[in-house]
């Protein structure tokens, strides 16, 4: 079979199972079984699949995933994260689009405590939407920042998606995490500027309101007692990875331990919080990692059948500029992102894309971050971006899907500008990891 025929077979099979509605993990398992019968033989191929599933989980690179998820869960369920929002609100004066900026700023910090875009958007949505509604904010100014900041969780460390990408693509997990800091901040800044500008030009979008004055004593108290401990935890985790003092796994474990100790100090670590934290951690990480285990054979079969090398050679023999191949791959990620969730997209595309990027001699961390951003954009792109449905759940029921679609377009455009800037200036990604190593 020609390599392209093999690739088509793989993807048609997978799409059939996924689109019928099989849970993604079992769709991968089913497809792998069929492929094994075609390309190897049932008995020995299945044994190899089982071993691949075992080894993919047993490898050290994935251990940070449940730990980072635990860190986010415990901080959310104990209510500590909400205190950050409160402190920020006290410090923020009467700026244009105040609540949108507040959402962006706190969402960016939440992103640094959470590995999951869904958790981030859900939390921002439920905490900010009522206030924004009350103040007469246009949907563009509420939905936009919530989804924009929500999607930052995949880029700003810790990010479960980044860890997964590193493990799948053989890219240094530490570099991917560190490399995501500046692009994440860049996107956050672009979005903040965007909301300030449109809010300043059309004050009906974000009506000004009288901000409740808070005393300096309250502000400083909040800063010291509520904000500093969490910010300290963020810096600790990033610094541990950055300095090479600890591996990403060790950093995640220390971060999770810190996240358990903090609420204990505030007296907020009760049975209920622990139960919710553990259930949330197990549910999310179990779901992600089972997909990973079930799909482990998929990428190996792609290589085994010669499809991967066929694609790599075909791309290498193209006469077009290599950057066009990069753009093409990112477009595929974006398009898939509009109807499939990020983890599955990584499972599908990484085994084919990373060898191509490597062969074309582009920086893998740079490409990885671009993929993560595109996954984030796909996540909020109509009609089926996952976060669109998360936000709908927290909005009043008379808001139509169409209105949500319209209100997210600005953020998508700004994010795409961010992608272009990072493509033109790769140093935004590569600089920090290179400093960390000196």
């Amino acid at each position: 079979m020609e390599w392209w025929a093999v690739i088509i077979l793989f993807f048609v099979l997978l799409m059939v199972f996924v689109m019928i509605g099989f849970p993604v993990a079992f769709a991968f398992l089913a497809v792998n079984m069929i492929l094994v019968i075609i390309f190897i033989n049932f008995d020995s191929g299945m044994q190899t699949l089982v071993l691949s599933a075992f080894r993919s989980l047993g490898s050290f690179t994935l251990t940070p995933i449940p730990l980072f998820i635990l860190m986010g869960e415990v901080l959310f369920h104990s209510g500590l994260v909400m205190k950050l929002l409160d402190v920020l609100s006290r410090w923020m004066g009467r700026i244009p689009s105040r609540l949108s900026i507040l959402t962006m700023a706190s969402g960016t910090m939440f992103a640094a405590l959470s590995g999951s875009a869904v958790a981030n958007a859900a939390m921002l949505g439920s905490s900010m939407v009522p206030e924004m509604q009350k103040r007469g904010y246009h949907l563009k100014m509420s939905v936009g920042p919530i989804l924009g900041a929500g999607s930052l969780a995949t880029i700003i460390p810790p990010s479960t998606t980044a860890i997964l990408l590193g493990g799948l693509g053989g890219i240094s997990v530490g570099d991917l995490l560190i490399g995501g800091i500046l692009p994440g901040l860049l996107l956050a800044t672009l979005m903040i500027v965007y909301f300030m500008v449109i809010g300043a030009f059309d004050s009906s979008l974000a009506p000004k309101y009288e901000v409740e004055k808070s005393s300096w004593k309250e502000r400083i108290r909040g800063l010291i007692f509520d904000a500093f401990p969490l910010l300290g935890l963020i810096f600790l985790v990033v610094w541990l990875i950055f300095s090479g003092f600890a591996t990403p796994t060790e950093s995640a474990a220390i971060g999770a331990l810190g996240a358990l100790i903090l609420p204990a100090l505030y007296g907020k670590l009760n049975k209920d919080v622990i139960k919710k934290t553990m259930i949330g951690t197990i549910k999310v990480s179990g779901m992600i990692l089972l997909i990973l285990a079930a799909s482990a054979g998929f990428s190996q079969l792609l290589a085994f059948t010669g499809a991967t090398s066929g694609l790599v050679n075909a791309v290498l023999s193209l006469d077009t500029a290599p950057i066009l191949s990069i753009i093409g791959m990112l477009l595929i990620v974006l398009i898939l992102g509009t109807f499939i969730e990020p983890i599955s997209i990584l499972m599908i595309t990484t085994p084919l894309f990373i060898p191509v990027v490597f062969a074309l001699d582009f920086d893998l961390v740079w490409f990885g971050i671009l993929v993560l951003i595109c996954l984030g954009i796909g996540n909020i792109t109509p009609p089926f971006g996952l976060l669109l449905f998360v936000i709908r759940g927290v909005l009043p029921s008379d808001v139509s899907m169409k209105e949500i679609y319209k209100s997210v377009m600005g953020v998508i455009t700004v994010s795409l500008c961010g992608v272009i800037i990072i493509m033109v200036f790769p140093e935004i990604v590569t600089w920090l990891p290179s400093v960390g190593s000196e």
């Binding site: 996924v18 689109m19 019928i20 509605g21 099989f22 849970p23 993604v24 993990a25 079992f26 398992l29 089913a30 079984m33 299945m46 044994q47 699949l49 089982v50 071993l51 599933a53 075992f54 989980l57 047993g58 490898s59 050290f60 994935l62 251990t63 449940p66 730990l67 635990l70 003092f245 600890a246 796994t249 060790e250 995640a252 474990a253 220390i254 999770a256 331990l257 553990m278 951690t281 197990i282 549910k283 990480s285 179990g286 779901m287 990692l289 089972l290 997909i291 285990a293 109807f339 499939i340 969730e341 983890i343 599955s344 009609p383 089926f384 996952l386 449905f389």
Partner: protein
């Protein structure tokens, strides 16, 4: 589009009007088994939770031993990796029961009534076959490893079969849970209509 809802997949039957006596009997057997099986799933869930906490403790201990006591330990990394296998496969049946395995319901979301039911039956039964085959071969690999007495050459000589076992146990439980959901979907009609 993906829906991850927290509602249990088994419909609460108590609220339904039960017409058929045979159906009722089958339903009672089903219900008893479901209750019993849920307990097993919960037990596995606890083990998964303990595994994750143990990963946390082991890794932290590794860091402290290295940096504070200056005597590095080498087994913590291996242990963490293996506990992750336990965590994932022991948690999966419970996650399935709670509808937590992510799916793309682009088509499902737009189906209704009979068609939706048949597609769900197809998905559930198909998945149970897939997980059963996976169970069968993980059992085979586990037994083979046990019979050959394979011991890993890591810093602690873990017997390999103990690390493969969660794959077999987890996929067996998944198979049974899929069959329970399947039965549930079938019974729903039987009990109410005939």
């Amino acid at each position: 589009m993906i829906k991850v809802n927290d509602k249990g997949s088994s419909v609460a039957y108590k609220e339904r009007s039960v017409v058929n006596k045979v159906g009722l009997k089958i339903y009672k057997v089903y219900s008893t088994f479901n209750k019993f099986f849920s307990k097993i799933e919960n037990l596995f869930l606890y083990i998964a939770g303990i595994s994750i906490l143990s990963i946390l403790i082991a890794i932290c201990y590794g860091v402290f031993a290295r940096e504070v006591f200056n005597s590095p330990v080498l087994w913590t990394n291996d242990l963490a990796g293996y506990l992750l296998v336990y965590a994932v496969f022991f948690a999966s049946p419970w996650i399935l029961k709670n509808n937590g395995h992510v799916k793309v319901d682009l088509i499902l979301g737009n189906l209704q009534g009979r068609v939706l039911k048949y597609v769900n039956l197809l998905i559930t039964f198909g998945s149970s076959i897939v997980t059963f085959i996976f169970f069968w071969f993980s059992l085979k690999v586990t037994l083979s490893s046990y019979n050959r007495g394979v011991v890993l050459l890591d810093n602690i000589p873990w017997p390999e079969y103990l690390l493969l076992l969660p794959l077999a146990l987890g996929s067996l439980l998944l198979t049974i849970r899929f069959l329970i959901i399947f039965t549930n979907l079938l019974l729903k009609e039987k009990v109410i209509e005939t």
